[in-house]
């Protein structure tokens, strides 16, 4: 192979490989800062009376103060 073609082939190869990478998974973000808009969410809900029939959205509580308390795992102290 002529030197120029070899150089081009070597230059293009990493680009081709990069294009074939699977999409990067959603990476962990740092905690949202005070002042940031709280993103809406949709999750299945539950209370002491059972699982909720309809999903829970943050937008359901528009106009209220909402405390989002993440915790480790059910039935642990966390």
């Amino acid at each position: 192979m002529r030197p120029l073609r070899l150089t081009l082939a070597l230059a293009v190869t990493p680009l081709v490989l990069a294009a074939q990478q699977p999409p990067v998974e959603t990476k962990a973000r740092p905690p949202l800062e005070v002042g940031a808009v709280a993103p809406d969410f949709t999750m299945r809900g539950a209370t002491r009376y059972g699982v909720l029939a309809n999903p829970v959205h943050l937008s359901d509580f528009k106009g209220k103060t909402v405390v989002l308390a993440f915790f480790y795992k059910a039935r642990t102290s966390g």
Partner: protein, 103 residues
């Protein structure tokens, strides 16, 4: 979680105008049965895919779990306060949270 229950009337005004949503990666059925057994008066939400924890920044170091980060969302929809993490064995954590909710 017991402290949230015990403080519920004082801190969260029994849910009037203030909504507490406790979030973990547990399935909704596990949350419901725990809430029933412990008589928790507030709402739980199941973040099984951890999408919400990722978006808010509440992933635990242990894979598959959420951590103890707490965010207060004001009526206008912005983060008004955060406890990273919420120190549930520290009484001042509740005092600070109460003050943040009342503002």
């Amino acid at each position: 979680m017991n402290a949230y229950r015990d403080q519920y009337a004082k801190l969260f005004k029994n849910g009037r105008g203030v909504v507490l949503v406790a979030i973990s990666a547990d399935p909704d059925t596990a949350l419901a049965s725990w809430a029933r057994d412990s008589e928790f008066p507030f709402l739980f939400a199941s973040d099984t895919g951890l999408a919400v924890a990722k978006r808010y920044g509440a992933l635990a170091e242990h894979p598959g779990l959420t951590n103890r980060n707490l965010f207060v969302v004001g009526p206008e929809g912005r983060i008004a306060y955060r406890a990273i993490p919420f120190r549930e064995v520290d009484p001042t954590a509740y005092t600070e949270l109460g003050a943040a909710i009342r503002e």
